[in-house]
Symmetry: C2
Subunit: 319 residues, 2 copies
């Protein structure tokens, strides 16, 4: 069971984390602060996009999403796990329901506990000591206009007797546009190449292939979108290079999504295109509930289904 | 991969089944014919309800579901697995998109093959010989009016070196009504009691509790509806009594659903009630994709995701 209370956007996300018996070193602090900062940047940028373009979009978009107040803005709530001796933590859940950004779901969290028995062999360093500490962010954007792609970004630091970063981002357009796909992948390639040039862990070909492999619906034999990056077990033994890469992927995702979204803000769409978008969102819902291993693990251990499922589409159809 | 072709409702559902190396005895024939007949009864009764009440509902309902032709009616398609030496089969998929019955999904199938290794220990009789033959029906009804509950019925005969029936039915109202819940459970209790009285396998208390246990969303700690019946491994060594019970549950479900639906046909509903219904359908989608073991198995072995997922709600919301 979770206690939910509403706080302000400028709440205590960067407050000292609960430890769960872990020694919180400066790197863990730094990662936690960064994910909180990135979440606030996402709220600021996407909130500004909605405020500006949503006002122009007028009441038509509003009609389509009566849950949205005319001014848009994120609704922010904090949740906390009842703290046991060995597990606890919590997070901040922010949801924007807009005229242009139909639904944005953002979750920034720090949790700790022990991996269940069946996960201990699979998680690096957990066979020796099942305790983990993790901090991360997950961001999913479902725009109203079907010409703007749905997009997803998430990243996390996991600490056991080892420590590593994981993360990724991808575009899931209902109506794919080659120019958007190229813009997105060019930006991600650039981030990876810059990292590699500096001796860091960026590897576009590998992380792109990994993304194609992970974000795939086996039961429909189809990818969930046009891809992006996915990485896990990222620990090159140079923390600074790893952390820089993780940060660059996050900021690049935000910037590139905004570039792509602004291209299509004024593009008209038909009721039929909107329906195709909702059927496509049915596929995204299938992926999340059938195939997303992070969601599976979250539902089993998190205790907050609304936080784990914050990226679910606002509306989906199975006609 | 599946070949899909459109056939008439009055197609060859009762034609001699493919055998997959099984000797098809008269009982297997009888079960297959019964599920086909029940499917046709469902089409006839629900089609008539839609034709009659849908015409009265007028264009408002139609606007809400532009996929529906004004006259309603089931769209029927047959699918077939490419026949290997040891696996094959197929089914008939019927979908009604109406003004009153927003979406009815019906699947009648006969499939055969070999259980994958990890299922052989779990399926009765499969350790000795992994081959199976199965015939069954699945029916899901999602009405437009949120005062009429969504409802589900399915049943099947599975034959390995043993043979048994499984099945169940339940109501999932967005806005539960105690009178509907009582009507539904009273009818199911009557079927079970009549069966028990004749020495058959009906056991209302056990099958109701089993249903409550199975149709439950652990991640939200909530049932998916107001329950019904669930049974599996039904083989009391008196085929005739088992088969009679299975048939009675099917006809009772159809009749009782219609009784409940007709109570609320003219009941007005608000946009807010409709939105609550769509959020509730998000929960049903979560159950189907996260928790429904039949769906999991079907997606892994069936080869036809549209048939396995025919019960998905027409529209779902995660606001």
């Amino acid at each position: 069971m979770t206690d939910t209370l509403t706080t302000e956007t400028t709440g205590d996300r960067a407050a000292p984390p609960a430890t769960g018996g872990h020694r919180i070193d400066p790197k863990m602090h730094a990662a936690r602060s960064w994910f909180a900062e990135l979440g606030q940047r996402a709220e600021a940028r996407l909130g500004a996009l909605e405020a500006q373009a949503g006002a122009a979009a007028g009441p038509e978009g509003l009609d389509a999403n009566p849950e949205s107040p005319p001014t848009g803005g994120f609704q922010v709530s904090a949740w906390e796990r009842p703290r046991g001796a060995r597990s606890g933590g919590g997070g901040t859940l922010s949801v924007l329901r807009g005229r242009v950004l139909e639904k944005v779901g953002l979750h920034v969290y720090t949790v700790f506990g022990e991996f269940p028995t069946d996960l201990r062999d699979k998680m690096p360093g957990a066979a020796r000591d099942p305790r983990f500490w993790s901090t991360g962010i997950s961001l999913t954007i479902h725009p109203m206009n079907p010409h703007i792609p749905s997009a997803h970004y998430s990243s996390r630091l996991i600490v056991t007797s080892r420590g590593w970063f994981g993360g990724g981002c991808d575009l899931s357009p209902a109506l794919p546009r080659i120019d958007d796909t190229m813009t997105f992948h060019a930006a991600l390639r650039e981030v990876c190449d810059q990292s590699a040039l500096a001796g860091g862990p960026g590897d576009y070909d590998r992380f792109k292939a990994w993304c194609d492999d992970v974000f795939f619906l086996p039961h429909r034999n189809t990818p969930r979108g046009v891809g992006g990056l996915f990485f896990d077990d990222l620990n090159s033994r140079d923390w600074s290079l790893d952390f820089t890469f993780v940060k660059e992927v996050g900021t690049t995702f935000l910037k590139t999504f905004e570039t792509i979204a602004r291209r299509h803000l004024d593009e008209p769409f038909t009721a039929e295109e909107r329906r195709r978008q909702q059927v496509h969102r049915g596929r995204l819902a299938e992926f999340t509930l059938l195939n997303d291993r992070g969601v599976m693990a979250g539902l089993k251990t998190h205790g907050n289904p609304d936080a784990v499922l914050v990226g679910m589409p606002p509306e989906a159809r199975w006609p």
